[in-house]
C-alpha cells in the first residue's frame, strides 16, 4: 500500500511534534478517549464475568488461529452454498484488483461504503478513485473525513481528531443544504439528508466484516448508525472485504466476542445494529443484493502465524488500547503514519509497511502495560513491541549513536569493578553541571533537560558510602 508507506517515511517525530503543538487536536482527543475510558470502566464493572469472558475470547481466537485453514475452507463452502462468491486476495494489490474488477464489470458509477479499517489497509478509497468510481462513505465519521480529505485517526472513531465545532464548519461548507445549527442532532440530520439519496442510488455497497461465521457462511457487521444495513441492502451488488483472522466457528462464538468488543470499544452492552449477511437475495426475499462477493484478505496475516507476532491475530479492533495509551492521547492517530494507530497499530504497521520505515512506532512506547491490561483478548502488546525492537536491533536499524551508547554502557555494566569506578567519576562529573540540588542544562542530555531538571547526584555513590560504612564497622574493636 503506497500512501501510508510514504507517510511513514516522513519522520514520526516531526509528525508527533506537529500534533503536540495542535491544542484543538488535544481537546478532541481528550474528549473522545476520556469518554471512552470512563464508559468502558463502567461497562466492565457492570459485567462481573468480564475476566472469564476475556479468557474465553482469547481461547476462541487462539483456537481459530491454530485451525485457520480448516475454518476458512468451511466458511468458503458455506458462503458459496448460500450463493455468495468468495475471492482470495494474498495482498493489498490483489484485493484492490479484485474489487475494482467487480465494480468495472458491473459498470458501477456510484459505490457506497460502510466503515472498514481493512478497506483502508488495502487502499480501497484510492483504488476506487483511480478507477473513476464515485465513492460515498456512509458512516458519519467516515463522511466527515471524506469531506475533509483525511484518513481515519482512530479505528472506531475515524474522525475523533476533529472537534464538534470543526465538524460544524465542515458541514456548513460542504453540505448542499447546510445545517441550521451546531448541535449534534441538527448536524446528524444534515448528514442524513446528504447521504440518503446516495444510499438509494448506489450500484454497489462495500462493507467490512467484524466476524466471518464458518458454519453458516455469514458475515457480520456491527454499527451504531444503521448505515451498514443501508449500504449493503439496496444496491444490486454487495462486496464484503475482510481479513482472514475475522473467522469464528459459529454464531455463538461471534456473540461471545461481540460482548467483549462493544464493551471495550464504546462501553455499550451491544451495538445498535448487529447484522448477519448470508448470501444474496433469495427467491421470495423482500430485499437484498442480487450478487454478494466476499473478498478474504491475507496481506501479511499468514506470515504472522509463524512469527513472534502471532498473538496479534487475536485483535478484534476495539480500540481500547489506543484509548488508554498515554502516547496516543498526546499525539492522536495521524502521527503514527500507518492505517492502524496506537499500540495495536505500532505492532501491525511494521508488518504491513516494513520495519525499516516504521521502527519509531514500537520504540515510541513507555512500556507501561496499560494497553495489555485493557485488551479484551489479552494480547501482550508491550511484549510484541519489544519483539520489534529486538528485530530492529538485529537488523541494525537503530541509530548508530544509540547502538554505541548501549554498547559502551554494556561493556561497563558487565564489569562491576570498572562500572563502580565509572559511576564514581560520573557522579562527580555530573555535579559540575548544576547549582544547588538541580541540573538545568546538561550536554548530551538535552532530551531530558529541555523539559525538566535533573536531580544533582549526591557526592558519592551508594556503593562508595556503603563500603565506607562496612569498613568502619569492621575496624571497630
Amino acid at each position: 500500500m503506497s500512501a501510508p508507506e510514504a507517510s511513514v517515511q516522513v519522520s514520526f517525530k516531526n509528525r508527533a511534534k506537529t500534533a503536540l503543538a495542535d491544542r484543538t487536536l488535544k481537546i478532541a482527543i481528550d474528549r473522545t478517549t476520556g469518554t471512552a475510558e470512563a464508559k468502558r470502566a463502567v461497562a466492565v464493572a457492570a459485567f462481573p464475568e468480564f475476566q472469564a469472558a476475556r479468557a474465553r475470547g482469547r481461547a476462541i481466537k487462539d483456537h481459530v488461529i491454530a485451525h485457520l485453514d480448516h475454518y476458512l475452507e468451511q466458511f468458503e463452502r458455506n458462503a458459496t452454498a448460500s450463493g455468495a462468491t468468495v475471492h482470495w486476495a494474498s495482498d493489498d494489490a490483489e484485493a484492490r484488483a479484485i474489487i475494482t474488477r467487480i465494480c468495472l464489470d458491473a459498470k458501477a458509477k456510484l459505490v457506497t461504503r460502510s466503515k472498514s479499517m481493512l478497506g483502508e489497509e488495502i487502499g480501497l478509497p484510492h483504488a476506487l478513485a483511480d478507477a473513476g468510481i464515485e465513492r460515498v462513505e456512509t458512516d458519519l465519521a467516515e463522511h466527515i473525513i471524506q469531506l475533509a480529505g483525511e484518513a481515519p485517526s482512530h479505528i472506531v472513531w475515524p474522525a475523533m481528531h476533529r472537534t464538534r465545532e470543526q465538524v460544524a464548519e465542515l458541514f456548513k461548507m460542504a453540505h448542499h443544504l447546510p445545517p441550521s445549527a451546531d448541535d449534534p442532532a441538527t448536524m446528524v440530520q444534515s448528514a442524513r439528508r446528504e447521504l440518503r439519496a446516495k444510499f438509494l442510488g448506489a450500484d454497489i455497497g462495500i462493507s467490512g466484516s467484524n466476524f466471518l461465521v464458518a458454519d453458516t457462511g455469514a458475515t457480520c457487521t456491527v454499527t451504531n448508525e444503521g448505515n451498514a444495513e443501508l449500504t449493503t441492502t439496496p444496491p444490486r451488488i454487495h462486496i464484503v472485504t475482510a481479513g482472514i483472522e475475522k473467522i469464528v466457528p459459529t454464531t455463538a462464538h461471534a456473540l461471545s466476542l461481540l460482548r467483549l468488543l462493544v464493551r471495550s470499544a464504546t462501553g455499550g452492552e451491544l451495538t445498535q445494529y448487529t447484522t448477519f449477511h448470508c448470501g444474496p437475495k433469495r427467491p421470495g426475499d423482500a430485499d437484498g443484493p442480487e450478487e454478494m462477493h466476499i473478498v478474504l484478505v491475507d496481506n501479511g496475516r499468514t506470515r504472522m502465524l509463524d512469527n513472534e507476532f502471532r498473538e496479534m491475530l487475536r485483535c478484534i479492533r476495539c480500540g481500547a488500547c489506543m484509548n488508554h495509551c498515554v502516547v496516543y492521547r498526546q499525539i492522536g492517530g495521524h502521527a503514527y503514519g500507518g492505517t492502524y494507530p496506537g499500540p495495536m497499530g505500532s505492532v501491525l504497521t511494521p508488518v504491513l509497511n516494513g520495519l525499516a520505515g516504521s521502527r519509531d512506532l514500537p520504540n515510541a512506547c513507555t512500556m507501561n502495560g496499560r494497553c495489555a491490561e485493557v485488551c479484551p483478548v489479552e494480547i501482550p502488546i508491550p511484549t510484541l513491541l519489544r519483539a520489534w525492537r529486538i528485530r530492529s536491533w538485529r537488523e541494525k536499524l537503530e541509530p548508530g549513536s544509540l547502538r554505541a551508547g548501549i554498547g559502551i554502557w554494556a561493556v561497563l555494566a558487565r564489569r562491576p569493578g570498572l562500572y563502580g569506578l565509572a559511576s564514581r567519576i560520573g557522579v562527580r562529573a555530573l555535579r559540575l553541571f548544576g547549582k544547588g540540588g538541580w541540573i538545568a542544562r546538561l550536554p548530551l542530555a538535552g532530551g531530558w533537560t529541555a523539559h525538566r531538571d535533573l536531580p544533582r547526584p549526591a557526592g558519592r555513590t551508594f556503593m562508595e558510602q556503603y563500603r565506607a560504612q562496612q569498613a568502619h564497622k569492621g575496624s571497630r574493636p
Binding site: K17, G437, R460
Partner: protein
C-alpha cells in the same frame, strides 16, 4: 509469610539509586533490618539490564541477566527498591534465558525469590513500621511496572498508613504512566514532556506537600518537571518516608 524469621536478603540497589540517590538504598537496608532480615549488598551488581532489554539488545541484556543471577542466587531473597527492575528479573530474565538449558532454570528460581521492597515487607515479612510520625500531606503515584507486572498497589499504601500524621491524598490518574519509560523520555522527549506535564498538573492539583512513588526513574521525571514548573512539591521514594528520612533533603534538595 516465609516461615524464616531472619532470612538472608541480597539487596539490589539498582543503578539509578547507586548513582543519584543513595538515601533510598540506606532506607532499604534500615527497613529490611527492622523487619528482621540479614541484609547484604553483593558487590558484583551493576544494572539489571533493562536499558539493553528495552532497546532490543538481547545479547547484552542476557549477559547482565546471567551476571545478576550469579551474584544473587545464593540468597534467600533478592529485594529491590524498584518495581521496574524487580519486574525485569521476575518476568524479563526467564523470557530472555528461556532457551538456555543452564541458565533458564536458574533464572526461574531467582524470579521466585525476587521482590520489590514494599511488597516484600508486607507480603513476605508481614512487617509494619513502628513509631513513625510525619506531619505532612502526601500523594502517591503507582509506577507502571510495579503496578502491572507485580501487582503492587495495596502494600505501599498499607505501610504509609502506619505513619502517624501523614495524610494521603488521592491523585487523579494515579495509575497512568508519568512518561518516563527509561530511554523513551530522551528518545521521544517531546511526547514524554507532554505526558509528564499532565502528570505534574494532576500532582499540583492535590496541593499535597509530598509526592511519593516506588521507582526512582519515575520520581526523577516527575520531580524534575515539578521543579521546572516552579512547584513546591517535595518528592521522595516511599521507603524514605517509611524509614523516617523525610525530614532530610527531598529529591533535588542539597543535603
Amino acid at each position: 509469610m516465609s516461615g524464616q524469621p531472619n532470612p538472608r536478603v541480597g539487596l539490589f540497589v539498582t543503578c539509578l539509586v547507586d548513582a543519584i540517590r543513595p538515601s533510598i538504598g540506606f532506607s532499604a537496608i534500615q527497613l529490611l533490618e527492622e523487619a528482621g532480615c540479614r541484609v547484604e549488598v553483593p558487590q558484583a551488581q551493576t544494572c539489571c539490564g533493562q536499558p539493553a532489554l528495552n532497546s532490543g539488545d538481547e545479547k547484552d541484556a542476557a549477559a547482565l541477566a546471567r551476571q545478576t543471577i550469579a551474584a544473587f542466587e545464593g540468597f534467600d531473597y533478592i529485594v529491590l527498591p524498584s518495581g521496574s527492575c524487580a519486574g525485569t528479573i521476575v518476568h524479563g530474565y526467564p523470557d530472555l534465558l528461556a532457551k538456555d538449558p543452564v541458565w533458564a532454570p536458574r533464572a526461574r528460581i531467582l524470579a521466585t525469590r525476587t521482590h520489590e521492597i514494599t511488597s516484600f515487607l508486607v507480603d513476605v515479612m508481614g512487617f509494619r513500621p513502628k513509631g513513625r510520625r510525619l506531619s505532612a500531606t502526601a500523594t502517591y503515584h503507582d509506577s507502571c511496572a510495579g503496578l502491572r507486572e507485580l501487582g503492587i498497589a495495596a502494600q505501599p499504601r498499607a505501610l504509609l498508613a502506619e505513619v502517624a500524621g501523614l495524610e494521603m491524598r488521592g491523585l487523579e490518574g494515579n495509575d497512568v504512566c508519568c512518561g518516563f519509560g527509561g530511554t523513551f523520555c530522551v528518545k521521544y522527549s517531546d511526547i514524554s514532556n507532554a505526558i509528564v506535564t499532565e502528570k505534574a498538573e494532576a500532582i499540583e492539583r492535590t496541593e499535597a506537600d509530598l509526592l511519593l512513588a516506588g521507582d526512582l526513574g519515575c520520581l526523577m521525571n516527575m520531580a524534575g518537571k515539578l521543579n521546572r514548573r516552579g512547584a513546591r512539591t517535595r518528592c521522595f521514594h516511599t521507603i524514605e518516608v517509611l524509614a523516617g528520612r523525610a525530614d532530610g533533603p527531598a529529591i533535588g534538595e542539597e543535603g
